[in-house]
């Protein structure tokens, strides 16, 4: 981040203490100034932070030499047009009293604040629906507080009814009790999931229907909340890499890369040229695979099984390449802090070229099936529309946001790994309907394949790891033959890569959108806190905005085309 952004913000908020952390400017405000600050950042055209990326809290109970209140709340937001990344941080004196909510400014705060409440027990005054989101309703306590024991399990005996929530939503849409009772306008409640073929995992969608039209919709997530963030606090930085595979298991490599990139940025480590090119090739390859799974599953939901075979078989074939490279089909764990686990094998270029060629063939076959397909067009065009403005407000990123006409892509707007030197386009939709979300992925796959080809042409030879002994393990022959190598190895494995104390947020353009990692480090080899900003979470938070007013059958295909992956949705 350049100093001009800091100066500009410090000048605008003279009372606040502003600091730079990586690419972001952190504004420390007092709780009473929180609401005015946020509202100015959102509404003042000088800042114009239309995208609220994330909301989280920090518990400083065990943080060494911490002064001040135990909890803090952090809002992360962006002005994507000017590449301005801001974090507003405020101390929370009493979590019961909490801070004022930002739900009236951004739709994304609705779910973001609910999560901070669920995990840390921070109250947000003025939040319209502050209840648990990831943990079940019978849960007592707040698991990410440092004094909550990780193995304290709580059994859930019954599923939440969600009836008050759907009735409140109906009332908001102008359906009163009188209409509900009227036999001619009888409203039917229909529940999809959390174990339903259309939900692609474990999501619960509750709808109130008038005939087949959705009047109101409430969604429940957290069925796959498996404590990634709490577990991470007990592991060294490199030990967490296999856990990141399981966030988005359709594109595990992208998670590996995004995660280590966040740590390397904070350490100030610049990885080797070859490693950068490897990461670009693999990211784009996995982006293609992720989109293939999404589209093929959407084909199944739409009733076009042929499209599924054309696309899924190519993905299945690509697993041969991945197993040969990483040793695993799905969970790659292929990066390390400071570089990569292994180099490419001999002859990888031929294999890669073969796979992208067959994938291109599959894409073209599938596109021929749908290009003039009246059924598909009628079912998807003009259906479940979301405007660019609403999508931004709800924190939607990635292909879904671009389908709504907002060309926000971190690869263009805040490039890393030489993305600025590649020749590629950002496809943008015109209406923000299901058709656009569907087609955007097709075009993105073509762009990604083009990036892979360019990178394959210019990938340099050379080492794949940096030579810093504080970051990367020594060579095996050193470990076995001299004491320095052995001690170095021992310390890195047992204590982990030590990061300087501090807090930072780093983002990556994953297949589904902005994948961010928010770290708090106390200087040790394990993160004090690790919060993931998953793209799916906020996309799902806008789901009701897309489906209300549409048919129930449209909600099913809408869910498949926004590509919700349970692992990163619930973590």
């Amino acid at each position: 981040m350049n100093t001009t952004a800091l100066e500009k913000i410090q000048a605008a908020f003279p009372d606040a203490i502003c600091k730079v952390a990586l690419d972001s400017v952190v504004i420390n405000v007092q709780p009473e100034n929180l609401e005015p600050t946020l509202s100015r950042l959102k509404n003042d055209p000088d800042f114009n932070c239309t995208l609220l990326a994330d909301v989280t809290a920090i518990d400083y109970l065990e943080y060494p030499k911490h002064q001040g209140p135990r909890f803090s709340v952090v809002y992360t937001m962006r002005n994507w047009e000017d590449n301005l990344l801001l974090q507003v941080k405020t101390p929370v004196a009493d979590p019961e009293v909490g801070v004022s909510s930002a739900a009236h400014l951004w739709g994304a705060a609705l779910w973001g604040e609910r999560e901070a409440y669920d995990q840390y027990g921070i109250n947000f005054q003025g939040h319209p629906d502050l209840r648990r989101i990831l943990n079940h309703w019978q849960f007592k306590g707040h698991p990410l507080r440092k004094d909550y024991p990780i193995e304290k399990r709580q059994i859930c005996y019954e599923t939440d009814s969600l009836e008050p929530e759907i009735r409140a939503r109906l009332a908001k849409k102008g359906v009163d009790d009188q209409t509900l009772k009227d036999i001619n306008t009888e409203v039917m409640f229909l529940n999809l999931g959390p174990s339903h073929p259309a939900t692609h995992g474990a999501i619960r969608i509750l709808t109130a229907l008038d005939g087949e039209t959705i009047l109101a919709n409430v969604n429940e997530i957290g069925y796959l909340h498996r404590g990634f963030e709490k577990n991470s606090e007990k592991m060294t930085y490199n030990q967490i890499i296999p856990m990141t595979d399981r966030l988005n298991y359709c594109s595990s490599m992208i998670n590996n890369i995004a995660y280590v990139k966040a740590i390397e940025s904070w350490l100030g480590v610049t990885i080797t040229e070859r490693a950068q090119f490897m990461r670009v090739v693999l990211t784009e390859f996995y982006r293609v695979l992720d989109h293939l799974v999404c589209i093929s599953a959407a084909f199944v939901d739409i009733g076009g099984l042929t499209g599924y075979w054309y696309l899924y078989n190519e993905k299945e074939a690509a697993y041969d390449f991945i197993s040969r490279l990483t040793g695993a089909r799905l969970t790659s764990s292929f990066t390390r802090v400071g570089g990569m686990y292994r180099d490419f094998y001999d002859g990888w270029k031929e294999d890669m070229e073969h796979h992208i060629k067959t994938i291109e063939q599959g894409i073209d076959d599938a596109l021929t099936l749908i290009a003039a397909n009246r059924i598909l067009h009628d079912r998807t065009q003009g259906v479940c529309v979301i405007s660019g403005e609403t999508a931004l407000s709800y924190g939607v990123t990635g292909p879904v946001l671009r389908a709504s006409g907002v060309p926000y892509d971190l690869r263009k707007d805040a490039p890393y790994y030489n993305y600025e030197s590649f020749d590629f386009e950002i496809p943008v939709g015109s209406t923000g309907d299901i058709y656009d979300r569907f087609m955007i992925r097709f075009f993105e796959m073509k762009e990604s394949i083009s990036i892979i080809r360019q990178a394959m042409k210019s990938i340099p030879e050379g080492p794949i790891n940096v030579t810093d002994s504080q970051v990367v393990l020594p060579k095996k022959e050193d470990v076995y033959s001299n004491i320095e190598g052995l001690a170095n190895h021992f310390k890195l494995i047992f204590e982990g890569v030590k990061t300087p104390p501090g807090e930072w947020y780093d983002a990556f353009e994953a297949a589904n959108g902005e994948l961010g990692f928010h770290f708090v480090s106390d200087g040790s080899g394990k993160p004090y806190k690790l919060k993931v900003r998953p793209p799916c979470f906020y996309t799902m938070g806008a789901f009701h905005k897309m489906v209300e007013g549409n048919m129930i059958a449209d909600a099913v295909i809408n869910l498949s085309c926004i590509n919700i992956i349970g692992g990163e949705l619930d973590r």
């Binding site: 193995e151 005996y157 339903h196 078989n313 299945e316």
Partner: protein, 170 residues
């Protein structure tokens, strides 16, 4: 070559044991219900797709309604929030029914030893076959299917299975 009574009956009647003929039918026409929650479900998709093709083992009729299935494949992590739903769906399946715990999470909680993850689905419902791996390769899922078929071969149709099972939600 028929040597006993069958030799006198020509090719019209076969005598057999009721267990054998019923189990023969059951073991080669398992109808799976996939309780897919996480990564393992993606590998089940691969097991069902062309290359590995689960239909070679007679189990390709994947049902999305528990009432039409007799094999439950639990593919993925089960959390305490999900547990009551798993139990209810298991109860909706008609007898006889079998359960395969696919992958480390379903078998034991896997790498998620924490506040929200059930440490093995056998604390909630009875399990017949456990599959290791995180996630298991499609071949391993097919292997589990063959093992289950072997197990079914040896069962008796007169005995109730898992009558005394008691899980944490019972």
């Amino acid at each position: 070559m028929a040597l006993g009574l069958e030799a006198n009956l020509g090719d019209t009647v076969i005598t057999t044991n009721l267990d054998v003929v019923v189990n023969w039918g059951r073991q080669y026409s398992l109808w799976p219900f996939v309780f897919g929650t996480a990564c393992c479900a993606i590998e089940f998709m691969s097991a069902a797709a062309s290359q590995h093709d689960v239909s070679r083992f007679g189990a390709e009729v994947v049902r999305f309604s528990p009432r039409q299935a007799d094999l439950m494949l639990v593919c993925g992590t089960i959390t305490y929030k999900q547990a009551p739903i798993l139990k209810r769906i298991y109860e909706q399946m008609p007898d006889p029914k079998w359960v395969i715990a696919v992958g480390a999470c379903a078998s034991s909680g896997g790498i998620y030893n924490n506040y929200c993850t059930v440490q093995g689905i056998d604390t909630i419902i009875p399990v017949d076959v456990y599959v290791s791996g995180c996630p298991p390769r499609p071949e391993t899922i097919l292997d589990a299917l063959i093992r289950l078929q072997d197990q079914i071969k040896g069962e008796s149709i007169l005995k109730d299975r898992h009558k005394d099972f008691k899980g944490i939600l019972d």
